[in-house]
């Protein structure tokens, strides 16, 4: 009834290839963006903005980065945390060395540095595949974290070893990092960065680059015979993925936690982001967001649900229960819908097109 494409004829290839070919989808997306930009900053409390929306967006960006590499290009990577750390520390060094440089520029440069590091660690992917590649990326992960902990140059020889993010403004007096920053400014800044990068990702995956990645993922032997150059394609995936993860890491350190520490990017972080894309859906931009939302909201839900249901769970049990629910949910998802929430969403839309008719 509501969700029909009757009467929506495409008369050009361009229309056929639009991101949201169905008009109702387009309205939905515009509404979501409007809500994100107008409604949430207006009604959202500081708590909401700082501890739910901002981490959600940052996680979504990192998940997007990993999805490009693992979901689209098929290269399993457990080094996400390490690349995020590169972004965070690169931002720190750049902004302390050049305090006058605008934070946007600093972020972009940090992303490029992360991309270069990612490319370096991506070279083995030509010879190594599957699990073996995952283990090779573990080398990157452990090495990078060790490096950031070991060499004081990275944290400017600070005595305490704990560095806080210096305050930086986007333009004029609008601070987005540091203690003085308005949560709404922070939120809008992160939102804009993520929206722009998500659009760019969409552009990549529906064009030449995305197709080459998916060809490599599905059958890299056949891809070579079409004329795809495997090393270049894989390295591009590593580079772009690390670019996204680097910026996510920078925003994590500078805007979310306001502290630059290697311990925030350990192997657990890599697994967390991997879960997001598994649950959200491999090879799906929407899936990265859904997975991030799921994993950000789940602990909050688990924290509050017992209370709402009327009983208390002792604090020391909560973490363990969370682990268990987490693990069980992952197995459950993989059994029920290995393609993740994004696929469930797509199935839902299919059903909605027919509603209220059964078929």
């Amino acid at each position: 009834m509501l969700y029909r494409e009757v009467g929506q004829f495409k008369v050009s290839y361009a229309a056929d290839q639009a991101i949201f070919p169905i008009v109702q989808d387009r309205w939905l997306m515009l509404a979501a963006l409007a809500a994100a930009y107008l409604v949430i900053p207006a009604v959202g409390s500081e708590y909401w903005l700082l501890t739910i929306m901002i981490p959600f967006l940052v996680y979504a960006l990192a998940a997007l980065g990993l999805n490009l590499l693992t979901g689209y290009a098929g290269q399993v990577s457990l080094g996400t945390g390490g690349f995020m750390a590169v972004g965070a520390f690169a931002t720190y060094k750049l902004t302390t060395l050049f305090p006058g440089l605008n934070i946007i520029l600093v972020l972009l440069l940090a992303g490029v540095i992360a991309a270069l590091v990612g490319t370096l660690f991506g070279f083995p992917s030509l010879r190594i595949k599957g699990f073996y590649l995952a283990v090779a990326t573990l080398a990157a992960q452990f090495f990078l974290i060790w490096m950031f902990n070991k060499f004081p140059w990275f944290y400017n020889y600070s005595a305490s070893g704990v560095i806080s993010a210096p305050p930086r403004a986007v333009f004029g007096q609008v601070y987005v990092t540091g203690a003085e920053a308005d949560p709404r400014a922070k939120y809008l800044f992160v939102l804009t960065v993520v929206v722009l990068l998500a659009l760019a990702a969409k552009g990549l995956v529906r064009g030449r680059v995305g197709r080459a990645w998916m060809a490599i993922r599905d059958m890299d032997v056949a891809a070579e015979i079409i004329g795809i150059r495997p090393l270049r394609t894989k390295l591009l995936a590593f580079a772009l993925s690390s670019f996204y993860c680097g910026i996510a890491g920078a925003m994590w350190a500078f805007i979310y936690t306001s502290a630059v520490e290697a311990s925030a990017f350990e192997i657990e972080r890599s697994f967390q982001i991997l879960f997001m894309i598994i649950i959200g859906g491999l090879g799906s931009i929407l899936g990265s967001f859904l997975g991030a939302a799921f994993i950000v909201l789940l602990p909050i839900f688990l924290d509050n649900a017992p209370r709402l249901a009327g009983f208390e769970i002792p604090v020391n049990l909560v973490t363990n229960l969370q682990s268990m629910v987490f693990g069980a949910l992952i197995v459950f998802f993989l059994i029920v819908e290995p393609n993740g929430l994004a696929r469930l969403w797509a199935i839902g839309k299919e059903k909605l097109r027919l509603w209220p008719f059964p078929h």
């Binding site: 290839y13 030449r208 680059v209 080459a212 060809a215 032997v221 015979i225 004329g227 772009l240």
Partner: protein, 276 residues
């Protein structure tokens, strides 16, 4: 009358061995411009291996290939693709995660130039390029009569249609030489007729030289200009269909007379599902 030209690809004394098994023994083949060349022979004779050598997937231990005037012993597959050689596979090597349209579009990747930054922005040169290639691909889709399955993920298509999509992907590369590995395996009579029609049209309209491996003798006799017969990695006949059909060696190979001078080692069985 079709004009068959000079040789475009010459394989000279190709020898290919895997461990102790010799797949190809000193095979020399000439492929002439604009012809349809059929390669036949019993299972394990080395036909697929020969195609694999031509398009760079296997590297022979001895022998050379001359393509477009350049002689070399080994070539990477993407060089072969860039130089105008396309192929299809016995086991349908399509990208299962993508739709028909996307699969055929991957055939255009060689000709897409816009780098990833333009792709990220999408609007502008990247989009123009994309739409131009889309138009070409749609023509191929029309030619192969697969409009209805444009947006279907190929994993869901029946085998016969998958083979057609794979042919479409090869055509999208605008090849000068098209290598088809059992393009009609597992098809019924009507599908085979369609496929034959496509092959002949491709040869006619686009002037593509075609090499095909095929088991159906009716098809081979009907559409090919020349036939090469392989057995145990050796070439045992080479000529027009009528001549090859009457050759005693070929008859012996197919009906299985014992070869006294052959090695007792069995040739490797190509690993594929048995086509019924």
């Amino acid at each position: 009358m079709k004009r068959i030209g000079d040789p475009v690809l010459t394989a000279d004394r190709i020898t290919l061995a895997f461990g102790g098994i010799t797949a190809l023994s000193e095979i020399s083949v000439e492929i002439r411009h604009h012809e349809i060349l059929a390669m036949i022979g019993p299972n394990g004779a080395g036909k697929t291996s020969m195609l694999n050598v031509i398009n760079g997937f296997y590297h022979p231990q001895a022998g050379t290939i001359t393509w477009k005037g350049e002689t070399r012993q080994r070539m990477r597959p993407y060089h072969a693709a860039a130089q105008g050689i396309a192929r299809t596979f016995q086991n349908v090597a399509l990208f299962r995660g993508m739709t028909t349209l996307d699969n055929i579009m991957t055939g255009r990747l060689l000709r897409m130039r816009r780098n990833f930054l333009w792709q990220a922005i999408h609007f502008g040169p990247a989009e123009k390029e994309e739409l131009a290639h889309r138009a070409r691909v749609e023509r191929i889709i029309d030619f192969l009569e697969i409009q209805a399955i444009r947006k279907t993920p190929v994993g869901r298509l029946p085998y016969g249609l998958q083979k057609r999509v794979e042919l479409g992907r090869a055509l999208a590369m605008e090849p000068e030489l098209l290598l088809l590995d059992e393009p009609m395996a597992g098809m019924n009579v009507e599908e085979k007729e369609d496929m034959c029609r496509f092959i002949l049209d491709i040869n006619d309209e686009f002037g593509t030289t075609i090499v095909l491996i095929e088991h159906d003798m009716g098809v081979v006799m009907d559409i090919s200009d020349r036939v090469i017969v392989l057995d145990y990695g050796r070439k045992i006949a080479d000529g027009p269909p009528s001549q090859v059909r009457a050759s005693p060696e070929v008859i012996a190979a197919y009906l299985g007379e014992p070869h006294e001078d052959e090695s007792p080692v069995a040739p490797p069985m190509p690993r594929r599902a048995v086509a019924t």
